[in-house]
């Protein structure tokens, strides 16, 4: 209790100086309870799921009953309720597969990849059996073959503030992993495996079909899950393990409880090796549980170290982690289930010979843990505002990876080859810089690559550029405020943007309009530099350094449509450096000087504060060429060709 008060006081102290208004639904950070006992609510707990499920490990089928208690906090009567059946996306005529084909995938359909949920019966307490009232709907694309959303109309409307109990019996067929869901051999990753009610949001039901690029959106609540699996299976889940009972038929039944979460995923695999650790944050101790594949056991330390470093920085920079556990799942080889987040549980991924300098395990741990904040707690709509989750998460990923491993080497530092995570994000953005605005719904992007490039890479780069405008520390405070204010709610994009403006005290609409709502490309270049003797017409002109007077010009151009104020640094051969500012409003500008020195170089954005600039090579120009890089790369190409030629010559 003392810890709770301390945390609340700390948070208040951090927020008040920034002039932060009180959160809409204040929920002081809670110290993590030591066990799975019921605790004070962190969220509104709109839903309460009770699921009793049994896994047929041979057939990969889950047979279950579900009781969903829904609290009507919408402020108005509700009579029609939509439900997600995400697993039905894994059927060839679904919208999910239509979009995958549209994006260019041409692989054949394989029956093993079929998944689905069949609702055997649906009863509503006090209103009878409504199985026959189930109606599949397709709110996004009208594809009648898509069965990822159904709705049911109750005979009697649910009054505001009242609760309703849905009782369902269903069977879920897991696919061989598709979209990081399903099975691979004995490995089971059960995600989106049960019927899940939609979200009443912005005055309407929000229950989108499952799309190739979109993720999920759900209300917070509690999950009480009884799970029966073979006794030799090791289980990890979004809930605390309350009990485990061995059954005479060789199975065991686990009782799992998750609170203040909006989804419940679980994994089971007889091959898991369990590695445990703990970390203590401002909200209390956190139990770290890592489920490793046998071949990767030696790399558990990499996961754990990365996770602790990430927990530490999230705790200090953005806010406390209120749950008492986090489970890292190392998925089975070939399962393609790595790199996915669910409440208090996420999948990572590595390779048994992964070199230390290749920081993919650390990167994926950092990224997926980050979702605990930007998806798990700040539960924005991943269908419509995916950038609020993936993008902000990619930005915090850069900050934390840079802090852990250095900005130039945070992704790769291997054999002299380096890559910073910020550059990695920037690269993904430059693949598709102008196809779609960040605010577009996930399934409406031009391609899957455009979705990824904009949602992850562009958002991270937009926020890194924003740092240059308002300062790194200010943006960190803004992101923290956003987290503290909107955790356990469903904020919108404007909630985030307004928070940034509020904390920075600046009107940033000009920037957001272009970067967030627009598709303008930012590209500045140094077009030319020249120094001409003032006495160029003299009959016997002798140029002497430090004596001859030169008239120098530097021309800077704005090649893209994105207008952004820039700094230009001009260096002269007498060692003098001048910094100029240009508002970028015109298409070009010229800086002119008369000095007894020639211009050596000119650089747009010398402080590298504008990573959003698509082409960094044209940001500078030097008077004298430096062919070192050309020589180096040409040498690489030459040597590769020589080796290829010699390899072919083995046929001679």
């Amino acid at each position: 209790m003392a810890r709770r008060l301390l945390c609340a006081a700390l948070c208040a102290a951090l927020l008040l100086p920034a002039g932060v208004a009180a959160p809409p639904a204040p929920r002081p950070p809670q110290a993590a309870p030591p066990d799975a006992a019921p605790r004070a609510a962190l969220s509104e707990r709109v839903v309460a799921y009770q699921i009793d499920a049994r896994l047929d490990a041979q057939k990969k089928i889950i047979t279950a009953t579900e009781t969903l208690t829904y609290r009507n906090l919408t402020g108005q009567p509700q009579q029609t309720f939509p439900f997600h059946l995400y697993l039905n996306g894994f059927q060839p005529e679904s919208t999910f597969y239509r979009e995958i084909r549209r994006f260019g995938s041409r692989g054949p359909w394989e029956e093993k990849n079929r998944g689905g949920i069949e609702v055997k019966s649906l009863e509503v307490a006090g209103q009878g059996n409504l199985t026959s009232a189930i109606e599949f709907i397709q709110p996004d694309d009208g594809n009648p073959k898509d069965k990822t959303v159904f709705q049911v109309r109750l005979p009697k409307a649910l009054a505001p503030g009242a609760s309703v109990e849905f009782r369902m019996a269903f069977q879920s067929k897991l696919p061989e992993t598709v979209a990081r869901t399903g099975y691979k051999g004995d490995f089971i990753f059960a995600a989106q495996w049960f019927p899940k009610v939609g979200v009443w949001w912005r005055g309407a039901w929000n229950c989108h079909q499952f799309h190739a690029t979109t993720e999920f959106f759900a209300d917070f609540g509690t999950y009480d899950v009884k799970l029966t699996v073979p006794q030799n299976y090791v289980v990890g889940s979004s809930g605390d393990e309350v009990s485990s009972v061995a059954n005479p038929d060789g199975t065991k039944t686990l009782t799992l409880r998750g609170q203040d979460i909006h989804d419940f995923a679980w994994t089971a695999d007889p091959n898991y090796r369990v590695v445990e650790d703990s970390w203590k944050g401002s909200a209390g101790p956190v139990k770290i549980r890592v489920l490793m594949q046998p071949d990767h056991e030696s790399q558990a330390a990499r996961y754990i170290n990365a996770l602790k470093g990430t927990l530490d920085r999230f705790d200090r920079w953005y806010g406390p982690y209120p749950y008492n556990r986090i489970t890292v799942v190392d998925p089975a080889r070939g399962s393609a289930a790595g790199g996915m987040e669910y409440p208090t549980l996420f999948t990572a991924g590595t390779f048994f010979l992964m070199p230390a300098g290749l920081r993919l395990p650390e990167l994926v741990v950092e990224h997926e843990f980050g979702h605990q904040y930007w998806y798990g707690m700040v539960a924005s709509n991943e269908f419509e505002d995916a950038w609020l989750d993936e993008g902000i998460n990619s930005y915090t990923e850069v900050k934390i990876m840079d802090s852990l491993f250095g900005s130039k080497t945070s992704a790769i530092n291997l054999w002299g080859i380096t890559l910073g995570d910020s550059d990695f994000q920037r690269l993904t953005y430059t693949f598709a810089p102008d196809t779609d605005p960040m605010v577009r719904s996930g399934w409406q992007f031009m391609t899957g690559n455009a979705y990824g490039g904009v949602t992850y890479g562009k958002t991270a780069t937009v926020l890194l550029t924003l740092e240059g405008l308002i300062g790194e520390e200010t943006l960190r405070r803004a992101v923290r405020t956003y987290f503290m204010r909107y955790r356990f709610t469903h904020p919108t994009e404007e909630d985030f943007l307004k928070t940034v403006e509020e904390i920075s005290g600046q009107n940033l609409r000009w920037y957001f309009d272009q970067a967030v709502y627009g598709t303008q490309v930012l590209d500045y270049s140094v077009d030319r530099i020249l120094s001409d003797p003032v006495d160029w017409f003299a009959a016997k002109l002798e140029e002497k350094k430090g004596v001859t007077l030169y008239r120098s010009h530097v021309v800077v151009r704005r090649l893209g449509e994105f207008i952004f104020p820039v700094e230009v640094e001009i260096k002269f051969d007498n060692g003098e450096t001048i910094r100029e500012k240009w508002d970028g409003q015109d298409r070009w500008t010229r800086f002119s000087y008369e000095k007894k020195a020639k211009v050596v170089s000119a650089t747009v954005d010398p402080g590298r504060k504008i990573p959003l600039d698509r082409n960094l090579f044209n940001n500078s120009a030097t008077r004298e060429p430096d062919p070192a890089a050309t020589r180096k790369l040409t040498n690489v190409w030459r040597v590769l060709v020589q080796i290829l030629a010699q390899a072919l010559a083995w046929l001679a």
Binding site: K184, W415, S620, P625, A629, L633, W637, L644, A645, A649
Partner: protein, 334 residues
């Protein structure tokens, strides 16, 4: 005729032959380098426009920043699709060049003294088309290896796919590739011997040469493979050391030194191939020495009518070679 220990000292003797024929090795290297330069010219011309006046290029000169590198690749001027075909064509040209060179090289290695330049060229020309035919047979012989690899992948894929262990998949895949590589080198040994035999016996019937050399190779596989294995180990050890030095000692900004270092490495790999050729030739010479009457004939400098080629009498149809080695003027040393 067979000697008892054809492999004793064969590596050293082979190395001496490579040293003796350093001019041929140098030519092979120079052509390799020139073709590499030709292939790299369009690359240099394109990227110099982007890099030479940009401070951003420092990220590539002073290290190897992948962010900058991919940034460069994304420039519209830089299109790998225009560079790759030219480079591949250049590599094919080198294959043709080496096909041409091999006849002279083997003829040179099997003699006690260096061949004259004209004799060397004559041997190159004499055996070129035979070796082209051998190349076609080699490609045919490699087809079953490819099929075997496909079969191996098919058989192991299920096991790999269902194994939860990376290591199983990794080692099984690696083993498959190792077997394929081994088979390739075994077949290459066979064809190497066929080439040596074609030169030694002035064999025109390539299929005949292949059949004979098959029996020779696999009848003496242990000793031949032992030669190959030792050279391969030297090559791998030196390569590992070179890679370590490159990564740990050479600084990224030492561009000039790196260029020279890479060329030394390329030259080393070429030397390895020449060394193997020389050792195989020495082994063959010891295993199947030429008749004394021919073998003792002086080669260089020799009288105008000397007949240095140690051919059995049955190969008296050796018109080009006879002309080759019966030059009236003293041969020029290579």
């Amino acid at each position: 005729m067979e000697m008892e220990t054809p492999t004793r000292g064969v590596l050293a003797t082979g190395a001496r032959l490579v040293l003796r024929g350093w001019r041929v090795l140098s030519w092979a290297y120079v052509v390799n380098l020139l073709l590499g330069i030709v292939a790299a010219l369009p690359v240099a011309a394109t990227i110099s426009e982007i890099l030479n006046h940009s401070l951003e290029a420092g990220r590539l000169a002073k290290g190897f920043d992948l962010g900058a590198f991919f940034g460069l690749l994304m420039q519209p001027e830089v299109t790998l699709s225009t560079f790759v075909p030219g480079s591949f064509l250049v590599s094919l040209l080198y294959l043709v060049f080496m096909l041409f060179l091999t006849g002279g090289l083997l003829a040179d290695y099997r003699h006690d003294q260096r061949l004259s330049f004209s004799a060397f060229l004559d041997a190159c020309g004499t055996f070129f088309w035979r070796f082209v035919r051998l190349l076609l047979f080699l490609l045919l012989a490699l087809v079953p290896v490819g099929l075997l690899h496909a079969l191996f992948q098919y058989v192991t894929s299920k096991r790999i796919e269902n194994s939860p262990r990376d290591s199983v998949a990794f080692w099984v895949t690696l083993s498959g590739l190792a077997v394929v590589a081994l088979l390739f080198f075994v077949i290459r040994l066979w064809f190497d011997v066929a080439q040596i035999r074609a030169v030694a016996e002035n064999e025109r019937k390539i299929r005949h040469a292949l059949g004979k050399s098959f029996r020779v190779t696999f009848g003496n596989f242990g000793s031949l493979f032992w030669i190959f294995l030792r050279i391969a180990i030297v090559a791998l050890l030196v390569s590992a050391a070179a890679a370590w030095f490159f990564v740990k000692v050479l600084r990224p900004e030492q561009v000039g030194v790196t260029i020279v270092y890479c060329q030394v490495f390329v030259f080393f790999w070429l030397t390895i191939r020449f060394w193997l050729r020389a050792c195989e030739t020495v082994w063959y010479q010891r295993k199947f020495p030429a008749p004394v009457a021919f073998a003792e004939a002086p080669i260089l400098p020799g009288p105008a009518e000397s007949e240095p080629l140690s051919l059995p009498a049955r190969h008296s149809r050796l018109l080009p070679m006879r002309r080759l080695y019966s030059s009236a003027s003293p041969p020029k040393m290579m």
